[in-house]
């Protein structure tokens, strides 16, 4: 008896310690020099909570050898696969990796609900309250899983943006069906497993249809939102088991994720509803002004190099194209060469450039670009008028003037880097294709602008070679 009490005390103590490490970890993740330590601390806390659960949650009994071996096998399999994926993934593919792992957590929560529902059917104590918690865990976990997988597929380029005709109506209908069914299951006392599976399928379907029409520029917001969904699903699990570690961990992520989502929406000057309902790239939004396009001027590598070498101030606007071309080291080399020539160079970072907020910062940090050279968008815009040359590398929607002057554009109102205020613009771009939001960019036809076509890394290398010859 005493040993059980001792074990349970150690267990609860571990949960408290784990909860504290989660809070500290999140706190430290918010400051650049402590972030890494914060992540490690939260990781240790997680390890402690897992180990304590296995050792002390139930008294060990030999006839449960199968249970214990399956737990250990699951941990080993998950660790090996998770490690391999996380170590092999390229920096550019990080966002979809986060989305993938988020989906795994959602699926885990959904599966837990399935088992607990089945458990209740076989003589557990049934209360509407517990049922509601289980059902919500299933719904939110499943939506998070299928939604994350779609987001993953989209960022990997395996799934195209598609909007169903009348998609909104279908989605609302689905939501009504989901909650109607959940209400019936919770209050009728009729614990049908087939109804539970129907609920699972409807929720999975909702996750798919929810993310499907949302276009690239909004994907970061969606991943962040789904991240907080999984947090909530974990919290429901915590409620179910009366487990503080799950509860604090889940709720912290749920609320922090929601705030992060709102911060991202603010960065794009849009509301969350607008992101979800007024989705980009749904086909209908494409180019309303295609008739009014002017002419495009190209620039040769030599001319571009001369323009850069004799500038006083150069600003680089990086975008997803830089990440795709893996050109972060090359752009850093260009920076060093220009600095040697006395050019003042900085980077104008749009908060949602790339596929995730902070994507560009992570990428440029990988190439050892000094921190103070990265200007936030507001500061960069103030400096723009005194900038001689702006080099737009693989960015499109975040430098689109339509956000300022075309109310019919789907990105109207989104803050952008106002590159047109600079004296010269050079856009490095693979082709005249549209940005991820699928809309035209009249910047390319701007009188100050000249295009340097080609792969970003290729063009930058040619520029560097040319600059060395000057």
């Amino acid at each position: 008896m005493n040993t059980t009490i001792l074990g349970l005390s150690i267990l609860e103590l571990s949960y408290i310690v784990a909860s504290v490490t989660f809070i500290l970890g999140l706190k430290m993740l918010s400051s650049p020099d402590k972030a890494r330590k914060g992540n490690l601390i939260a990781g240790y806390g997680m390890g402690l909570a897992i180990a304590a659960t296995i050792l002390f949650k139930e008294e060990f009994s030999a006839d449960k050898w199968l249970n214990y071996s399956l737990i250990l096998a699951g941990l080993v399999i998950g660790t090996v696969i998770g490690m391999r994926m996380a170590i092999k993934v390229k920096m550019t593919a990080m966002p979809q990796m986060v989305s993938f792992f988020n989906g795994m957590g959602g699926a885990c929560a959904g599966v837990i609900s399935l088992v607990e529902f089945d458990h209740l059917r076989h003589g557990g104590e049934i209360s509407a309250g517990m049922l509601i918690v289980i059902l919500l865990g299933l719904i939110i976990g499943s939506v998070s899983f299928s939604g994350s997988m779609i987001a993953y597929g989209k960022l990997e380029g395996k799934i195209a943006d598609k909007a169903l005709p009348a998609g909104q109506i279908i989605n609302i209908g689905l939501l009504i069906a989901i909650f109607g069914l959940a209400g019936y299951l919770a209050f009728s006392g009729h614990l049908s497993m087939s109804l539970m599976y129907t609920l699972l399928i409807l929720s999975l379907l909702y996750g798919v249809l929810f993310v499907m029409p949302i276009g690239g520029a909004d994907m970061p917001v969606v991943i962040s939102l789904l991240n907080s969904f999984t947090g909530m699903a974990a919290a429901f699990g915590g409620f179910l088991y009366g487990n503080q570690a799950m509860l604090t961990g889940g709720i912290l992520v749920g609320s922090a994720g929601t705030i992060l989502t709102v911060l991202m929406c603010t960065a794009m000057n849009r509301s969350l509803t607008n992101v979800i309902i007024g989705s980009f790239g749904g086909g209908g939004a494409t180019s309303t002004k295609s008739g009014e396009q002017g002419t495009i001027k190209e620039i040769s590598v030599t001319d571009a190099a001369i323009l850069l070498a004799y500038a006083n101030k150069v600003s680089v606007v990086p975008g997803y194209g830089l990440a795709v071309a893996q050109a972060q080291h090359t752009v850093h080399n260009l920076e060093k060469i220009l600095e040697d020539k006395g050019v003042d160079l900085n980077y104008a970072i749009h908060p949602v450039a790339g596929r995730m907020p902070g994507h560009m910062n992570v990428l440029l940090a990988e190439a050892d670009v000094p921190y103070p050279k990265l200007l936030e968008m507001e500061d960069a815009n103030e400096d723009m008028a005194s900038t001689d040359v702006v080099l737009v590398i693989g960015a499109n929607d975040v430098v689109n003037p339509a956000a300022e002057n075309d109310p019919s554009s789907p990105i109207y109102g989104m803050p952008v880097v106002k590159v047109w205020n600079a004296k010269n613009i050079i856009v490095l771009k693979r082709s005249m294709g549209k940005g991820y939001a699928g809309i035209e960019n009249e910047l390319f036809f701007h009188p100050k602008n000249r295009m340097l076509f080609g792969d970003a890394k290729d063009s930058l290398e040619k520029l560097i070679a040319e600059l060395k010859n000057l």
């Binding site: 809070i23 970890g25 993740l29 918010s30 650049p32 914060g38 992540n39 939260a42 990781g43 997680m46 659960t53 949650k57 449960k64 050898w65 249970n67 399956l70 737990i71 699951g74 998950g78 490690m83 996380a86 920096m91 990080m94 990796m97 986060v98 795994m104 957590g105 699926a107 885990c108 837990i112 088992v115 458990h119 209360s127 509407a128 309250g129 509601i132 962040s224 991240n227 999984t230 974990a234 919290a235 915590g238 409620f239 487990n243 503080q244 570690a245 799950m246 509860l247 604090t248 709720i251 912290l252 992520v253 609320s255 922090a256 992060l260 902070g358 910062n361 992570v362 990988e366 670009v369």
Partner: protein
């Protein structure tokens, strides 16, 4: 209605904890610079992997002859571990690059 009220009463301490945690979550990250948005999202992603504890509890409490619970529980343990391990390792990789820069 009564059942919901009694659920509330029985779990009032948890509900208290939930409310405090919500505010804590908001407070803790409200000053995060844009640079750290991606790692923060990734780190938070790893932390909700705590859901794995639920799957371990299922496995511990399942009757060894209840294959439904054992198979699904086993699956849940794998899924949860993927979330935890993948989440923390990816976050660490992202943050490694920030550290290099600090030199």
């Amino acid at each position: 209605m009564e059942e919901i009220l009694s659920l509330f009463y029985e779990n009032r301490e948890f509900i208290f904890l939930i409310i405090v945690s919500i505010f804590l979550g908001i407070e803790v990250i409200s000053n995060v610079p844009a640079v750290l948005h991606t790692p923060l999202m990734s780190g938070a992603n790893a932390i909700h992997g705590v859901v794995i504890i639920g799957s371990i509890i299922i496995m511990l409490q399942a009757d060894p002859s209840n294959y439904y619970a054992l198979i699904l529980g086993f699956l849940a343990v794998i899924l949860g571990t993927l979330n935890v391990v993948g989440g923390f390792v990816v976050t660490n990789r992202m943050l490694e690059m920030f550290k290099k820069k600090a030199k």
